[in-house]
Symmetry: C2
Subunit: 347 residues, 2 copies
Amino acid sequence: MTPELNDCRFLRAARRQSVDTTPVWIMRQAGRYLPEYRSVRDKVSFLELCKRPDLAAEVTLTAQQALGVDAAILFADLLPILEPMGFQLEYTSGGGPKIHNPIRTSEDLKRVRAGDLDELGFVYDTVRLVRKQLPANIPLLGFAGAPFTLASYAIEGGGSRDFARTKRLMYGCPDLWTGLMQRLVDSVVGYLERQIEAGCQAVQLFDSWAGCLSPADYRQYALPYTKGIFDRLPAHVPAIHFLTGNPALLPLQREAGGSIIGLDWRIDLADAWSRVGLDVAVQGNLDPLVLQADLATLKTQTRAVLDAAGGRPGHIFNLGHGVLPETDPNQVKALVAMVHEMGAARS
Amino acid sequence: MTPELNDCRFLRAARRQSVDTTPVWIMRQAGRYLPEYRSVRDKVSFLELCKRPDLAAEVTLTAQQALGVDAAILFADLLPILEPMGFQLEYTSGGGPKIHNPIRTSEDLKRVRAGDLDELGFVYDTVRLVRKQLPANIPLLGFAGAPFTLASYAIEGGGSRDFARTKRLMYGCPDLWTGLMQRLVDSVVGYLERQIEAGCQAVQLFDSWAGCLSPADYRQYALPYTKGIFDRLPAHVPAIHFLTGNPALLPLQREAGGSIIGLDWRIDLADAWSRVGLDVAVQGNLDPLVLQADLATLKTQTRAVLDAAGGRPGHIFNLGHGVLPETDPNQVKALVAMVHEMGAARS
């Protein structure tokens, strides 16, 4: 890593060092709300876009440049990691992802492998292409799904409202659950290691669905596996642990690992930071829908997040969830400018 | 109220008085998982069932009797209150409720009335029929939706994943929001008052969707209206305030009112009770999916909830959300028996 990159705003904040202003990036910043993204996406399917390093690199870079954010995040999806593990994945138009051979019985587990992560070479190629073209002071983030979230998809076969199949299997078939989760841990570690080797300066683990668990169930069925991943990642690489949907899990989210705790918008940032401990960095936590409000509301709520962070080193500004497709890109650009302006006054 | 009813297990716990064992009832206890319910439902549509006092009373009573729970809850739905307010409601088969004329603009607000609550006479008739036939020591609970939850339906026109229209209107049209919420408050108060007059001993307000709000937004856009309802209900009637999806709102949920705080399963009950204050009763908080686990898991998790309550007067056992259709009724019966047995040892 060059000294310039090592000393960039995002990585300094990730290490809880002082910054000239609050760094900001936007979850799903390379997404459908952006005309530059849509024009690429019009030509290829979602899965094809994920698997074409030239195009994936293009949308990654375009978003960073268009918004002026302090980090780029690899354009990819949570689920392709399941393919080398033996799952048949399809993105139906409009209906979201579908897994044609979900895991339901102990018999099914036999065909689930830890996976040959080299099969996801298109991801590492994208990382290399992006890193080559990114400004010297902009880090590139890699990412993967957390084991509970990936397991939910592998079991439900798609999205779910109450995660009934997942929980039934989790409660009813402990060996099957453990077997699946361990294979996911091994796969995710291998996947993130390769992303880092290819040129990512930090990584984020997305636990999009673990919020459906009670604290006791999270501790028993999810935490050990998430922790297994963070324990095995190289210690010098900042790792963001994002979990959404249940602020009561925050202390356990911290216990599971990550040097930066990613927050959704359901809790006040100051409250959250004191619950996870002031000795860790935090990321968040504006409600994505505030981007669809008027500028005055956007400003008030952005200021409230920065006020809650209180100018303490170690805050990375972000939404509490991915930016929504109906969002006006100009609002996102305005948000980035606001954070940089207001953050400078506080730093 | 007879002395026997006044001194029943549920009402004693609601007043935080000592009990012989922990009272228990199950949200959505008269529901599709129960064969007795399905045999009635096979003959009529959902809306017809809601509007036929003889049948609504039958499923209310059957569920209480079949399960041996300590309270009956009026069979009804959250949304028919919107009809006298001017909304056109339909329950599509499989697709959930649909409102054909959702509110989107200030112009739309003109056709929204506080509503003539006497139009919901079928509900009060059901209450009278049930009260006549219930055992003398079993209270009947009435209920209604909380203003935010009802407003979401009225704006979205049905269910929603991210409540985008609701939040856009809430941020962008403060007068429209206030106008709608005030009409909802007036309607809900009138509706619950009539349920109480007809024979309900306690009521529950369901805020099923407010968990999508940040604490600051809940305080600004939801709390004043929910509080407006609790402030106007007769003080001697126990009122359960149930909110799901965001444990960080608990202190504000308490502030909004209710003599019993209804918890979902996302937080440990002891933690929740200490956050809302020990000077209020609590209800909850088993994950409904645990009913689909083996008996040993059900027992362990039931014991954990009772342990968290610690035998303190003022705990009403319940699930953290409605019982799911795929649940085995025998598991629900086993749960009720367990609570009564384990609760007796703690009381």
